[in-house]
Amino acid sequence: MKLLLAEDTRDLNRVITAALTHEGYAVDPAFDGEEALGLVNKNGYDTIILDIMMPKKNGLEVLHEIRGANIVTPVLMLTAKAEIDDRVEGLDAGADDYLTKPFAMKELFARVRALTRRKTQYTEQQLSFADFTLNNDKFEMSSENSVRLSVKEFELMQTLILNSTHYIDTNYILEHVWSGVPDAGPDTVWLYISYLRGKLNAITSKAVITGERNGSFRLEEQ
C-alpha cells in the first residue's frame, strides 16, 4: 500500500511518515504543493494525504489539479483550522475525508484504513448468491457452466445480489445501473432482467429473478 504525505511542517511530516511506515505503508513525503503534484504525476498511490496550508501550492490547489487530471485516488485533507469553509471547499473539490489538527495518530490510521479498504474490497470481491458466483475481474457469471456478461448485465446482477434481501423496483434499478443514460427506460430494465434470467438458466443455477415487467425484482433460490 503506497501513500503520499504532503505536509510542510518538517517535524510533523517526519513523525507521520515514521508512524505510517511502522504500520506497514510505503510513504513518500512531500514538503510543498508543487513537490506533491510532481510525485502524484509520476507515481500511483493508494491514498494521498494533503495538508491544506502549504507553500508554493496549497492543498486545495493541489487537489483541484489532481481531480482535474482525472486522478481518482482517495484524498484525505489535513487542516490546522477547524474552519467549516475549508472542509466544505475540500470535500466539494473532491476530497474523500478530512482530519482536523491536532489529531490522534490512531485516528489518522483508521481514516487511511477506511480510504484504502474501500477500493481494494470493491475490486477484489467476488460476489456470490445461492450456487453461482459473479467474478469481478473476468465479468464472468458461473455455476456449473459459465458465461461472460456485458457491462450493464454485470452491474445489474451486482445490484441484485447486493439487494437480495428485498425487492428493488424498476426506478431504483434505472437510477443505480443506468444513471446518466437518457435513453434507458423500463423496457431496458425488463430486457436486461430477461437476459439475466436466460443466463442464470444457461449456467444451470438454482437462482431465479422474481418479479414482473415494470415492477420490482429480487434474486431468490429455487
Binding site: N145, R148, S194, G198, A202, T204
Partner: protein, 199 residues
C-alpha cells in the same frame, strides 16, 4: 479391391441417413409455415468414409470389420444440424425423438452441461429401424462457429504459445458466444411476445 467395411449394409446406411434428413426437412417446413421463421441455418450429413472408419477401428483397437463399423462404433451415419436459436435445438430434438422407427439410444446435453473447454452442442445417438445407428449433433450458429474455429486452432497451439492461456481464452470466447446466443434468444422471444404469437 478390398471389400467395404460396411459389407452389404451401405444401402441401409444411405436409407437411414435419408430417413433422418426427410424427418428434419418435414419439421423445418412445418415450423416455417407456422412461425414464418427458419429453425435451421444449415444441415450437413455424411456416411463416414471407408478410410475414416478403418482408422477409427484401429485407433480404438477394434477389428476392421462390419460388426465394429455398425454395432460398436455408432457414427457411421452422421448429421449435424446447425440451428438458428437455442430453442430451435430443443424443438428439433423433440421432433426427432418422436419420429417412428427411430429410438434414442443416448443423448448428451452439452448445452446445459458445457464441456470444460467450453464446447456446447446437443448430441443424440439414434437407432433407425432397429438396425442402423446415427449420431446427430444439434447446435446453434454460434456454437458451430466456435467449434469450427477451435478445431482449427487446437492443432496449431502446440506450435507456438502458452497452451494454458490459449485454452482459457478459447473457453472465454465460448462463454461470450453462449451469452450472446441467450441475448439473441431473449430478443427474439420479446419480439414474438409483442407480436402476440409467442413461441
Amino acid at each position: 479391391m478390398q471389400e467395404s467395411i460396411y459389407g452389404e449394409y451401405l444401402p441401409q446406411l444411405k436409407a437411414a441417413l435419408d430417413y433422418i434428413l426427410d424427418g428434419i426437412n418435414d419439421i423445418r417446413k412445418k415450423i416455417k409455415e407456422e412461425k414464418t421463421t427458419d429453425p435451421i441455418e444449415h444441415c450437413l450429413a455424411r456416411i463416414k468414409s471407408e478410410d475414416s472408419m478403418r482408422e477409427k477401428c484401429r485407433r480404438k483397437g477394434l477389428p476392421e470389420d462390419t460388426h465394429s463399423a455398425l454395432e460398436v462404433i455408432r457414427d457411421a451415419v452422421g448429421v449435424r444440424v446447425v440451428c438458428t436459436f437455442i430453442s430451435d435445438v430443443y424443438t428439433i430434438r423433440d421432433y426427432l425423438s418422436a419420429m417412428p422407427d427411430c429410438e434414442i439410444i443416448q443423448e448428451k446435453d452439452y448445452i446445459r452441461h458445457a464441456k470444460p473447454n467450453g464446447y456446447r452442442s446437443y448430441h443424440l445417438i439414434l437407432r433407425v429401424k432397429k438396425k442402423i445407428y446415427a449420431e446427430i449433433q444439434l447446435r446453434t450458429i454460434s456454437m458451430d462457429t466456435w467449434a469450427a474455429l477451435e478445431h482449427q486452432l487446437k492443432y496449431k497451439q502446440s506450435i507456438g504459445g502458452n497452451t494454458k492461456l490459449i485454452e482459457e481464452e478459447l473457453k472465454r470466447c465460448a462463454d461470450e458466444l453462449a451469452s450472446t446466443d441467450i441475448s439473441m434468444q431473449t430478443i427474439r422471444d420479446m419480439i414474438f411476445e409483442n407480436r402476440g404469437d409467442a413461441n
